[in-house]
């Protein structure tokens, strides 16, 4: 009896180890990337801002443009190779009728305009965030990032990194469909 209790006590390190191993195994099996952060703004409205249109310096936008319908907000820049990679897919989504707002982040206006002309423009509205002010308020830490915003202007999800067919089908489309 005493021996059994002793064995049970001595099993504690084993049990702790197994629990620890499970926690170590899951991110590996799921293939999750520890450097990808979830947004701190989930469930909150898009922060207030005033930004110029990328094509027209005199045209200004504020946070109201995110109300009225559900949409994607894509943060991109010409200096970002992954943005180039995902651009084709963004065009495809736009062709399917998705409403996408683009935010050009800490970039050169002329280069950005050339990019949109050459690679086709998937954005209904293109914001120009030269200083990264809105980027900072949105907690952008690396382009590309894509926010899913519902018709109330509330941020529902953020995807960091390349947006492609697989990511869209596996995760984003479900969230997008569920949004009001």
């Amino acid at each position: 009896m005493l021996n059994k209790r002793r064995i049970l006590m001595l099993l504690v390190p084993f049990v702790i180890f197994i629990i620890g191993a499970i926690f170590l195994a899951t991110p590996l099996l799921k293939g999750s990337d520890p450097s990808k952060l979830e947004s701190a703004l989930i469930g909150q409205p898009v922060p207030k801002f005033t930004l110029q249109d990328i094509f027209n310096q005199n045209k200004q936008y504020n946070a109201d443009i995110f109300k009225g319908q559900k949409m994607l907000l894509n943060v991109w820049a010409t200096w970002c190779p992954t943005c180039y990679a995902e651009h084709t897919y963004l065009n495809k989504l736009a062709n399917q009728g998705l409403y996408i707002v683009g935010m050009n982040y800490k970039d050169d206006r002329q280069k950005a305009i050339r990019w949109l002309k050459e690679l086709h423009n998937p954005y209904q509205i293109s914001l120009f965030d030269k200083s990264g002010l809105l980027g900072l308020d949105l907690g952008v830490y690396g382009a590309p990032e894509t926010f899913l915003i519902d018709s109330q202007g509330i941020i529902r999800y953020r995807h960091v990194g390349d947006l492609n067919e697989q990511v869209w089908n596996d995760k984003l489309s479900a969230i997008y469909e569920e949004m009001q």
């Binding site: 293939g31 990337d33 450097s35 952060l37 979830e38 947004s39 701190a40 703004l41 190779p81 992954t82 180039y84 990679a85 995902e86 800490k106 990264g132 900072l136 308020d137 949105l138 907690g139 830490y141 690396g142 990194g161 390349d162 947006l163 492609n164 067919e165 697989q166 990511v167």
Partner: protein, 163 residues
């Protein structure tokens, strides 16, 4: 990771090379000017406390990344405006989440950071005391003459082990 696989291979290559070269080989050195020593101290502490979300594991003082620079500048502005350390940290956390601070907040999980070691110390001391007690219990069960013998042996051993 998975995403890159579908794209042209060279793009993946470019990304991985840029990722490699962003290795923290170079300290971020800038000079800021402050109204008073208190502000300088607050700013200095903040740059050590705030983590650069883009980088590997680095605070914004050490990182040379573009984003770290932005956060340093923002922290500098806020401190210059007279905000306290807590206010600046809150400002960053509302935007980047708790990841941005190296001192984690109290959550149902982080409580174990403090509880874990504490419980271990308490448990360890408890076991130590209990073990000593069971031993002394056994010792008292000895007959008087055995006790005496043990005492003399112990005394002799004490002398031995001092050598």
């Amino acid at each position: 990771m998975i995403a890159v696989r579908n794209m042209a291979f060279y793009i993946g290559l470019i990304i991985s090379i840029t990722a490699l070269t962003s290795y923290p080989a170079q300290a971020a050195i800038e000079s800021f000017e402050f109204d008073n020593a208190q502000q300088e101290q607050t700013f200095y502490e903040l740059t050590k406390l705030l983590r650069c979300p883009k980088c590997q594991n680095q605070n914004i003082a050490d990182s040379n990344a573009e984003l770290a620079k932005d956060l340093r500048n923002k922290a500098y502005q806020l401190v210059k405006q007279g905000q306290t350390k807590e206010q600046v940290v809150d400002y960053m956390v509302t935007r980047f989440g708790n990841f941005v601070r190296y001192d984690p907040p109290l959550t149902p999980a982080t409580i174990f950071l403090w509880l874990g070691p504490l419980l271990f110390v308490m448990g360890g001391v408890f076991i130590l005391v209990k073990q000593v007690k069971t031993q002394t219990g056994k010792k008292q069960a000895l007959a008087p003459q055995e006790k005496q013998k043990l005492a003399s042996l112990l005394a002799q051993h004490d002398r031995d082990s001092e050598r």
